[in-house]
């Protein structure tokens, strides 16, 4: 094709250059990671605590755990749960008593994932509050899940008790049409924001169905801790 043969660069030079570039870049990335890590972790912890305090007002301390099919293990500063594990937060009040469990539920809504944090009350075996972590629902319609009092009332005591075999919820959490809620495990949708309401219900159902069977049999482990291990 080309009339004048180009001065070909020896492969070695290419490899050398790419290697050099990669080394420089690698050093920069590792450096910035080390520098920012403490601040990033502190930020994450703060953000999580802020969310948890919103759904469990009596909270004083939040400890991250992973629920696995074989038992509960403390997170010890780890970010990702092991295989088949689910992340959840044990929340303790001032007297170091277990005030509740918080966990995240997410499902796709009208625009994007709707991520909510819900509080699970151990005694009532019910969900006692939700807070939105992030969503991009239509302002004025979908974001009513934050403000609509009738909708939030669904989560004062949303029944999620397990079936006798401890394998799944006795009754799946379900979002129903506005005004047709008859059972404590149903969520009354907001008229005009059905898609978002359903996303919340679906997310909570999925999360509760996977988390609670792994968590409830081992609850004593969390309750009887006099001084819960602080991973931070």
């Amino acid at each position: 094709m080309s009339d004048a043969p180009e001065i070909s660069t020896p492969s070695f030079a290419m490899v050398r250059t790419l290697g050099l570039v990669s080394v420089i870049c690698g050093i920069i990335i590792v450096g910035i990671y080390q520098v920012t890590l403490p601040a990033v972790n502190a930020n994450k912890k703060l953000a999580l605590e802020r969310q948890v305090f919103k759904v469990i007002p009596s909270a004083k301390k939040v400890v991250t755990y992973f629920a696995t099919p074989t038992g509960i293990i403390a997170a010890e500063g780890q970010d990702q749960p092991p295989a088949q594990g689910t992340i959840f937060y044990a929340v303790y009040d001032e007297a170091n008593k277990l005030a509740g469990i918080a966990a995240e539920a997410s499902s796709s809504g009208y625009a994007d994932q709707v991520r909510v944090l819900y509080a699970y009350d151990v005694e009532k075996q019910a969900i006692t509050g939700i807070g939105v972590i992030s969503m991009r629902e239509t302002p004025g319609i979908g974001d009513k899940i934050l403000t609509d009092q009738a909708f939030l009332k669904n989560f004062e005591a949303l029944d999620v008790h397990l079936a006798d075999d401890m394998k799944a919820l006795a009754n799946a959490v379900k979002t129903v049409k506005h005004g047709t809620k008859t059972n404590p495990w149903q969520i009354d949708a907001i008229a005009g924001a059905t898609v978002t309401s359903k996303a919340v219900g679906r997310g909570i159902n999925e999360s509760a169905q996977t988390l609670l069977p792994k968590l409830v049999p081992h609850l004593e482990q969390l309750k009887n801790k006099e001084s819960p291990h602080d991973p931070n």
């Binding site: 660069t9 030079a13 290419m14 250059t17 790419l18 050099l20 570039v21 990669s22 420089i24 870049c25 920069i28 990335i29 910035i32 990671y33 520098v35 920012t36 601040a39 990033v40 930020n43 994450k44 703060l46 953000a47 992030s134 239509t138 302002p139 004025g140």
Partner: protein
């Protein structure tokens, strides 16, 4: 006017990036973040500054390494360099504010794919010494920031009745929801493009008239 140590063209190039060759309104590059993160002025400025930082640093490095990088692997090298600084910015924003990090979402990582960056590296930094290259890149970055800011302002004022989070019109302001939705980005971008095009149009006309009058 020009800083003493730089060649005379550097400062002009810096200004060019901001106005005459504005990456958003004139070159129409980097539309992905332009449409996606400009829902508020703060988001727009943070995104712009993050991009400016990546632009400046990567162009400087590209320019410094320009004689060492063989032609055949230049794009790969540029991308690696750009990706590095995007990672830097990604961590930095996480460390500064998680809220901002959530608001900007995937678009911080997508700075890698912003054509302004590769365009600058390929068209300018690879052919010029580090100082002018950095100046040019910073000008472009600030031009990009200015563009994002102009869009972000309009969208935040109409879409939320606020500017920098401060309410401007009192409690009863009716937000134009469409402005914070994706279509709003297109509308406002189009509006500014029209304004810029009109400026150029009438500017050219006046120049033509002046030139016609001179001889």
């Amino acid at each position: 006017m020009t800083p003493t140590k730089t060649p005379p063209s550097s400062f002009d190039e810096f200004l060019d990036g901001i106005w005459k060759q504005n990456p958003i309104f004139v070159m129409v590059l980097g539309m992905c973040p332009t449409l996606a993160v400009t829902v508020s002025a703060v988001n727009a400025i943070s995104m712009g500054l993050a991009t400016t930082f990546v632009l400046g640093m990567s162009c400087m490095l590209v320019s410094m390494l320009r004689s060492a990088i063989p032609k055949q692997v230049r794009i790969a090298s540029y991308i690696v360099i750009i990706a590095t600084f995007v990672t830097v910015v990604d961590y930095a924003i996480q460390a500064i504010s998680l809220d901002l990090y959530e608001a900007l979402g995937a678009y911080i990582k997508l700075i890698v794919a912003n054509c302004v960056l590769l365009g600058r590296a390929e068209a300018h930094a690879a052919k010029n010494p580090p100082l002018p290259a950095t100046f040019n890149a910073l000008g472009m970055g600030l031009g990009f920031t200015l563009g994002l800011f102009m869009i972000g302002c309009v969208r935040e004022i109409l879409g939320a009745g606020k500017l920098f989070g401060v309410a401007l019109f009192g409690d009863h302001f009716q937000p134009w929801v469409v402005m914070v939705l994706p279509p709003g980005g297109f509308f406002v971008l189009a509006f500014w493009l029209i304004v810029f095009a009109a400026f150029r149009h009438f500017g050219n006309k006046r120049n033509a008239q002046l030139q016609g009058a001179q001889p």
